[in-house]
Symmetry: C2
Subunit: 409 residues, 2 copies
Amino acid sequence: MPSIDGGRLLGDLERLREFGRYKTGVHRPTYSPVDVESRRWLAEKFREAGLESVIDGVGNVIGRNPGAERRLLVGSHSETQPYGGWLDGALGVVYGLELARAFAADPDCAGLGIEPAAWADEEGHYLPYLGSRSFTDAVPEEEIAAAKGRDDGVPLCDALAHAGFAELPRERLDPSRYVGYLEAHIEQGDTLDEARRRLGVVETIVGIDNYAVRLIGEQNHAGTTRMARRKDAGVAMVRLASAIHDRFPGLAGRRTVWTIGRMQIVPNAPSVIPGEAWMQVQFRDTDPAILARLERALYELAAACDRAGPCRCEVAVMSQSPPAPMDAGFQAIIEKAAERHAPGAHMRLPSAAGHDAAILSKKLRAAMLFVPSIGGISHHWSEDTKTEDIVLGAEVFAAAACEILRATQ
Amino acid sequence: MPSIDGGRLLGDLERLREFGRYKTGVHRPTYSPVDVESRRWLAEKFREAGLESVIDGVGNVIGRNPGAERRLLVGSHSETQPYGGWLDGALGVVYGLELARAFAADPDCAGLGIEPAAWADEEGHYLPYLGSRSFTDAVPEEEIAAAKGRDDGVPLCDALAHAGFAELPRERLDPSRYVGYLEAHIEQGDTLDEARRRLGVVETIVGIDNYAVRLIGEQNHAGTTRMARRKDAGVAMVRLASAIHDRFPGLAGRRTVWTIGRMQIVPNAPSVIPGEAWMQVQFRDTDPAILARLERALYELAAACDRAGPCRCEVAVMSQSPPAPMDAGFQAIIEKAAERHAPGAHMRLPSAAGHDAAILSKKLRAAMLFVPSIGGISHHWSEDTKTEDIVLGAEVFAAAACEILRATQ
């Protein structure tokens, strides 16, 4: 059985935290100088582990094991959210690296290869899941050409050129090369923490639908335009948003979530009646029927708002990623490994966050292992996981990877 | 009776429109290069009219008539809203200039002096009513020191230095110098236009109250944070805004207006639950009792929102300018002049927009004359007034000014 070196694993996670460290967390946006530096460091670590290491045209870092007979692709993303946590993404990347080293060192694993990957921009500073979508041919060239930094508006192409990646070829998945894909990640929610479990086997990654809702009114002077004459797009937006929050609870499942995370009124000036308003409505569930129900309700409420006037209302799909069930056989193997290493301290659960594994699962058998997030905190610099859970997770992950590579022989 | 030169008046309005012309309107933000240029041009025009001309430390342009025995201060603001109209402010400034010339040329007006003024930043690119407030000692120095450009964040002090005004002394009103203050302005609303009247005598300038309403929740991951655990400040804001729009109609008067012109959620990201939200609630009325009623309701609704949870809610006053009644004697004189020049084509009305006259009225007897805005449009480049109404307005304004100067002898 391949053996995890806990000290080496934690040392590499600590080293990776130094690229963009912020308090106990990390600020490492995709293609920022520290992100580029950290990708070069990862490529070097993959080489030290005996692999052929490549950085591709979107910044994916992949370690190749040409000598192996059977291979697992194992990875996660390596950039972070702004002022985010140190393990979100990094954990799964360093697990991949540690597994590659552990398998190479174990004579019993001869012929079994772990190929680690650090995907680019899962967090969507430019395009969500850009790295894994590029790798699986799931991102249209026009999308790349049009993409801009969500905070600074810098074109993605300029950012890639500046990072030194633009001239590199983009790696593409050869599905016949791999037995499957594994990803480890912090849970980000509080399900494991509240249930006092140390390991989670992901059943399904939630589907995530995003809609742009636009209200069109008439911009006018906030003093001289009488109430009866107004077409206030801000009023229309808050009334529609309230209606959504009223209606959705009756349609939702036990774990459905919905969020209006972005709102904007134009021109957003104290004495001007908003002529236009815009909000992004997102909902997530593992059940496609529930997603369809919420979508229908959203369109109905928007149509009712449009009919009632005085503002017009338009809804447009921004993105729809269907629920991604994980491979049942892989789940069973991970669960068995978890039970061997930590009897009773594991559970199955859905992933309420999106992950690169959802993208890879379209082309490979795929599965995910979760370790707990203390207090359920993530996307914040204070995010953390207990040291013993980090090490236990790696041991279970290695055991499961070994079993998967053997079982599929 | 002083005689208006319609061609000269319209020529000067057209010339002033060229400073920052945008389509048929004007883009002339306070202290922008074209605004500074236009103020120097106005100072020169005041000189050509035989006046001593000064630009002061905040950019006010004032023409002095040292030889007059009795004087009226006559003005408005000369900057515009972004991509705004050509007459908003400019009309009243050029009326002042034209009246100064007409009075100087009329032997019957010997000893009666018009002192024209172009106030700075009534539109609040840095500080609303800065010029007239500075002139009447109604702006604390700390407010000036702290002020920043509302769009670009440039400190007011830097903008004044860049404009070349910072080293100039700030002019202060000597109330004993003037019989009173007159201001002409476009109506900006549609009351005159709909009633097919060509002249409006302002009874009262509305009081305007502005409140900052802040909702404090808890920022969290939009996927992994279950609905029951959320403290979504965006949800709290839209529900409170809806409650305001539900409650206010029952408390409002016939002409009350209320507007939520600014809204913001933090961090405004698609997959993050807003941890904070902010909106600006404004209401206007000529009746202090109605303003007090709306204020009470706003605080009650905010307190109810705070009590109900899960977010906290805070309200703070941003500004409160009480209704400013215009001088009854001046109103009667303007009305009489209007009736003489255009029998039956005038009416009394409140001003639903704020004006420098509200500031000046705290120190001088003050009154306003309105000319119609075609279709009620303002704060937009397409704002306009019929040529014949512009000229008629100036004639009535001159006749009223003459009568006021004589009547108060």
